[in-house]
């Protein structure tokens, strides 16, 4: 092996930093020109690291649960009283719900209603936060041959979580409804008026473009609309709340801060592709 002289080695050592700086500018250029390549690289890195997260998910989940339980021991009596109250209330609602459901079935039968097709779904564990600083997203760990596609819809046990934006061989990324780039067509259940739910990267996405005269009411339920064929109708999204500045926001039903298991539904929709991610070119080519 040829060993360069000490002077030459020093000169080379001084040069590496500028060369690397130039390389990072090159990287920026590549990122602007070829978004698909960057997306592939990202999902490949996540695919490679997914086994680590999948292995960590269970013990960490157990640990979190233990902490919650220990904290819960504190207010056990109050919690019990509250739950008994709530149970009472929910039992009343259950009977109302069952009556309405039966009535609904009868009415649909009388109208010869064509039921919506049952959607198939895949259940997946959330293994990591995949948002970075400027986005709100989570990473799902899925088995091989999972059959997930971009644009499919993720729900937890309570409500809408978001949509799939990237799919790898073992992982998929879900952009949450709270992300800055997320736009969901919704219906305000009370007035049946349409609006757009826009994420802000904060915990409460905002309502935009509701029709004149039907102002969103505090506590009103918000569900998805089938407009634009991106979502099926009537998935639970959240409830309206007004913030301190009088701007209507939505308190999501889904527990977006503590996602554990989500179901990804295939409704066979071919509407708009899932939104592009913030910290990337805004007009990715397809």
């Amino acid at each position: 092996m040829i060993r360069p002289s000490i002077q030459a080695r020093h000169a080379l050592a001084r040069l590496t930093l500028p060369v690397m700086v130039v390389a990072s500018f090159g990287l920026m250029l590549v990122g602007k020109v070829d978004t698909i390549l960057v997306e592939r690289a990202r999902i490949a890195v996540y695919d490679a690291s997914a086994p680590i997260y999948a292995a960590l998910a269970r013990p960490l989940g157990d640990m979190n649960k233990t902490v919650v339980e220990i904290v819960g021991l504190w207010g056990l009596r109050d919690e019990n009283a509250r739950l008994r109250d709530e149970n009472e209330r929910l039992r009343r609602w259950q009977s109302i719900g069952l009556t309405l459901d039966a009535e609904n079935q009868r009415l649909k039968a009388a109208l010869r209603w064509i039921p919506d097709p049952e959607a198939s779904y895949v259940t997946a564990r959330v293994v990591a936060d995949a948002g970075g600083v400027y986005a709100k997203a989570v990473l799902l760990s899925v088995g091989p041959n999972h059959g997930l596609r971009k644009g499919q819809i993720a729900l937890d046990e309570r409500g809408l979580v978001g949509r799939i934006t990237e799919v790898g061989t073992r992982t998929a990324r879900v952009l949450l409804i709270t992300d800055m780039n997320s736009r969901v067509p919704v219906i305000l259940e009370g007035s049946r008026s349409r609006a757009i739910l826009a994420g802000t990267n904060g915990p409460w996405p905002r309502l935009l473009y509701w029709s004149e005269g039907t102002v969103p009411k505090e506590g009103e339920r918000v569900v998805t609309s089938a407009e634009a064929d991106a979502f099926p109708a009537n998935l639970p999204v959240g409830t309206v709340r007004y913030n301190a500045n009088g701007i209507p926001e939505v308190e999501p039903d889904a527990q977006l801060r503590a996602l554990d298991i989500v179901r990804v539904f295939d409704y066979g929709l071919n509407g708009f592709a899932a939104p592009e991610v913030t910290a990337r070119s805004t007009q990715g080519h397809h």
């Binding site: 590496t16 930093l17 690397m20 700086v21 500018f25 690289a41 890195v45 970075g132 600083v133």
Partner: protein, 184 residues
């Protein structure tokens, strides 16, 4: 260059085990930085956890560039920046450039900071973290043609400032023991 090359004396023969030990000690800063970055994304369920990844990357690059620049060479810094871009969903190049800038500042201030105590190094680090956060925000805004919110960046800088001792103190112990090539 390890101490053994500079000071004459009798020392153990270079067996395979000892060679591996030396290589490991040289690779320690880069390897642990990568691992810490990967672990920072694990589902701990912490609020604001997304800011942990840039914090860990920044602290590792700053600390090793200052105390062991030979092991945290620009190509290693570049790779850490690239991983930060890919894992942190930043536009590619932003993480690489900010990490290289951190490395450059640390190398430039090295002679001065080597004589200072922990608190001074920490205070300078806070200034650097704020500057890097501002640079990060400006680059992301420029590359996405949009004004991204300032909040997360401020939070990131604050977290980096607050978390510095938690990351740097274990690294300092490692630097003096298991990562020191002279003790191989």
């Amino acid at each position: 260059m390890a101490l053994s090359d500079r000071i004459p004396g009798v020392r153990p023969r270079l067996t395979v085990g000892r060679r591996l030990d030396i290589v490991w000690r040289h690779a320690f800063p880069g390897t642990t930085s990568f691992l810490l970055m990967l672990v920072s994304l694990a589902p701990f369920g912490l609020w604001g956890q997304a800011a942990l990844l840039p914090t860990v990357a920044l602290t590792c690059v700053w600390f090793w560039s200052l105390f062991r620049p030979a092991a945290m060479a620009p190509p290693v810094v570049f790779l850490i920046g690239l991983l930060l871009d890919l894992l942190g969903f930043l536009p590619p190049g932003v993480g690489a450039l900010t990490m290289l800038t951190t490395h450059g500042i640390a190398r430039w201030l090295r002679r001065f900071l080597a004589r200072q105590g922990f608190t001074v190094v920490w205070l300078i680090f806070i200034t650097v973290a704020c500057g890097i956060a501002a640079m990060n925000w400006a680059l992301v805004s420029l590359l996405t043609f949009s004004l991204v919110p300032v909040g997360p960046v401020l939070f990131q800088a604050g977290l980096a400032a607050a978390m510095y001792p938690a990351v740097a103190i274990p690294l300092m112990f490692a630097h003096r023991s298991i990562a020191d090539p002279d003790q191989a």
